[in-house]
Amino acid sequence: MSDTTSHAFLRHGPPSDRVQRFTWVERIMHWFTAAVYIYAGLSGLALFTPYLYWLAIVLGGGPTIRTWHPIVGIAFVIGVFWMHHVWSRDLKLDSDDIKWLENVKYYITNQDEKLPPQDKYDAGQKVYYWGMFGSAIVLLLTGPVMWFPELMPRNLHWVLPIVTFLHSAAALVTIGGAMIHIYMSISNIPGSLKAMTQGHVSRGWAMLHAPKWYARISAREKNP
């Protein structure tokens, strides 16, 4: 047997031209929250407008979604709070983020070179996160009242329209954010979906979309 024979071995961790962006725990956290969000969002839309009431039939019928929407909604809030625990440190807005947001038109029109460099998450992701987090708190505070209105005494019935309105409004904020988030991950930022499925991105991706983060982790690679 010659020493020159090629052989393959199992790779552990990302390939050498790629860097780790999300751990497996972060990926599970994200997809857990995404799955329960999609159910809660679609069942909520069925209850929001008659034009989407057919979603109730798709999801098992009106009484079924009325039973499961609040339970799955609690799971969504748990997911968001978990994300907050793990990610909120990297999601604080800094002065570069403010400049980025002021010039967001360059981001929308794919002229990213005119924008200040971004850290692990860009300012758009940060705003999306805080929108989801704030909405989740509103949904959590209003949801239980709508879950058990029969427990509300008559002299507190005046809060029912208010909580119902706030619940719908907060949900619409999350839907607007989620639509953009899904578009960006599937199409607008190639490679970002793979970051959340397999956990790693190419070095080019990191240099382009998260240069401050890439500088930090490549410095750590050189001096471990």
Partner: protein, 297 residues
């Protein structure tokens, strides 16, 4: 249970028009409750239970003659008893038959998300259709009179049907049939309004009730249950009858502008995303190293 025989005017949670709407006209029906001749016998409560086949309900003693503090999912009709002392010291019992008011502009129907769970008939009756009810209780949020009541076992909401099953067969509601004093009347809205006006005129001109009047609140475009009250300026003292009931303005915002913003926002968002994809497309990274162009995704 909704009647199959009556012409439908409005359907809850329904996208599009009402099938067969305006196919025929029907005159508005109306129940007139003359509280000034009610003796509080509760025959109407019993008749309601009998016709709708509900068991007698345990009573709750509340220091009044009232059967229980509030209506229930299987107790749609309740005489509210209030002790009232007039400024001159005279004492009176105020007795008001409480049940669904069958609003011309029903807040329950406006709030309901379930297609067909609440219908309004051309004759003005607002009826719940429990087979389509999902138990969300948005109707409770929308109702200014606190009428819809939730059954925690079946997870469905119930209320007075104005005996839509009897009315569709040409009969008067069961409560009307049982009333021994004739304080309950049933007929067309015009006739009941006319009768009520004549009765209040009589009260104002021939009794001490100078403030007698007809309760037909315009905040909900009038109701298909109207009252003769001997003091129209203070309906609250008759077991909390609201003075100017209307569908809550926040319910209107929720089912009006917020719903339109949501619907159009989602469509415009989808169109905007499609436009962005076609106009600008993906942001792809290229690394420049020694003149080599290498595409990474």
């Amino acid at each position: 249970m909704a009647s199959k025989l009556l012409q439908i005017k409005a359907i809850s949670g329904h996208a599009g028009t009402v099938p067969g709407g305006n196919m025929s006209r029907d005159y508005d029906v109306c129940k007139l409750v003359d509280t000034t001749t009610c003796i509080g016998c509760k025959a109407c409560e019993v008749a309601c239970l009998e016709w709708n086949d509900y068991p007698f309900h345990p009573t709750t003693f509340d220091n009044t003659y009232q059967t229980m503090p509030d209506t229930a999912w299987n107790y749609w009709n309740l005489i509210r008893f209030d002790e009232h002392t007039a400024p001159d010291g005279t004492f009176s019992w105020l007795m008001r038959k409480d049940q669904c008011m069958h609003c011309a502009d029903p807040g329950c129907l406006a709030s309901c998300p379930a297609d067909g769970a609440i219908v309004q008939y051309a004759n003005g009756i607002v009826d719940f259709n429990q087979e389509h009810c999902i138990g969300c209780q948005y109707c409770v949020t929308g109702c200014p009179f606190n009428i819809p009541k939730f059954n925690p076992t079946t997870k469905k909401v119930f209320k007075c049907t104005l005996c839509s099953d009897r009315v569709s067969a040409g009969l008067e509601p069961a409560c009307i049939k049982a009333c021994p004093t004739g304080c309950l009347h049933f007929g067309s809205k015009d006739d009941m309004k006319d009768l009520a006006e004549r009765r209040t005129k009589q009260l104002r001109e021939h009794t001490a009730y100078k403030d007698a009047g007809v309760y037909d609140p315009q905040g909900v475009d009038g109701t298909h249950v109207i009252y003769v009250l001997n003091d129209i300026n203070n309906p609250e003292k008759y077991g909390g009858l609201p003075k100017n009931p209307s569908v809550d303005p926040i319910v209107r915002l929720w089912k009006g502008p917020l719903k339109w913003i949501g619907e159009f926002g989602i469509v415009l968002g989808a169109v905007g995303i499609a436009f962005h994809y076609l106009r600008y497309g993906p942001k792809e990274a290229e690394i420049q190293s020694g003149g080599d162009h290498e595409r990474h995704d």
